[in-house]
């Protein structure tokens, strides 16, 4: 019971860590829309890097996720195959 409550508190605190900056950033975006200079600066920032949702961006992101999934699957396969080898045949 105690461990469950600790996990719950940790979860709430961690979600707050992620949620609070996002809320602040949202406020900031609204303020940025005042004035031409700020809009221009915002557009300049959008040109940086490879944005999410573009073709190359999707390839990089999904490629990374696929690579991680493949390595986890490979690790699990290695463990199960070595277990099968070590267990006596019936």
């Amino acid at each position: 019971m105690k461990s469950i409550s600790i996990v719950f508190v940790l979860f709430v605190m961690l979600s707050m860590v992620y949620a609070i900056p996002a809320v602040y950033a949202e406020d900031d975006d609204e303020e940025d829309r005042e004035g031409f200079g700020e809009m221009k600066r915002e557009r300049e920032h959008q040109d940086e890097g490879i944005p999410l949702g573009t073709d190359i961006g999707n390839v990089i992101l999904y490629g990374t996720i696929a690579a991680i999934g493949a390595s986890i699957a490979y690790t699990a396969f290695k463990i199960t195959s070595s277990k099968r080898k070590s267990s006596p045949k019936s």
Partner: protein
């Protein structure tokens, strides 16, 4: 034992509290050029810590394995390396933790410029960190083997290095 447990909880609480306080106060970091420089430097801290933590550790492991493989004359070298293994492992864990949290803070504070490379980098870093924690803190044999195999995957290390280089190149443009 009880004092140790309380200390551990206190450290976790303080870490979470500081995490709660720092991101909101620096959420406006993008607005100020000087603050943005500081946040960018956090990324360089992460890169530096990663290089310092991993290159000596990987080199040491490779030398030790090679020494054991080659035979009787080099076994002495492997034995000597074994004596310094624990401090170097602690150094590796400490610097990697610093690098991870510096990198994540850098990413959170500059989340407005989030792109696919940064997100991929954050995912790979988290996977490596979780597998490292699994390796260090679990007592179950299966999860230990799983953590060891996943943490030492050469493909993931190459992917991480490639994403770091891409992130630096794209960020500099």
């Amino acid at each position: 034992m009880t004092i140790k447990k309380t200390n551990w909880k206190f450290v976790v609480f303080l870490t979470l509290l500081s995490l709660l306080v720092i991101p909101p106060t620096l959420a406006y970091a993008d607005d100020d050029d000087e603050a943005e420089d500081i946040v960018e430097n956090l990324g360089w801290v992460a890169v530096g810590a990663g290089i310092m933590a991993n290159i000596p550790f990987i080199a040491m492991n490779k030398i030790r394995r090679y020494a054991i493989k080659t035979g009787s004359s080099t076994v002495q070298v492997a034995k000597q390396i074994r004596t310094v293994y624990k401090p170097i492992l602690n150094f590796h864990i400490m610097l990697n933790s610093i690098g991870y949290f510096a990198g994540m803070t850098h990413g959170l504070l500059l989340s407005r410029h989030l792109d696919s490379i940064s997100l991929s980098l954050a995912i790979v870093m988290s996977v490596m960190m979780i597998s490292g924690l699994l390796l260090k803190y679990t007592s179950s044999r299966n999860s230990k083997i799983f953590g060891k195999l996943l943490h030492g995957q050469f493909g993931l290390v190459i992917l991480l290095a490639a994403l770091v280089v891409l992130h630096i190149v794209v960020g500099d443009d």
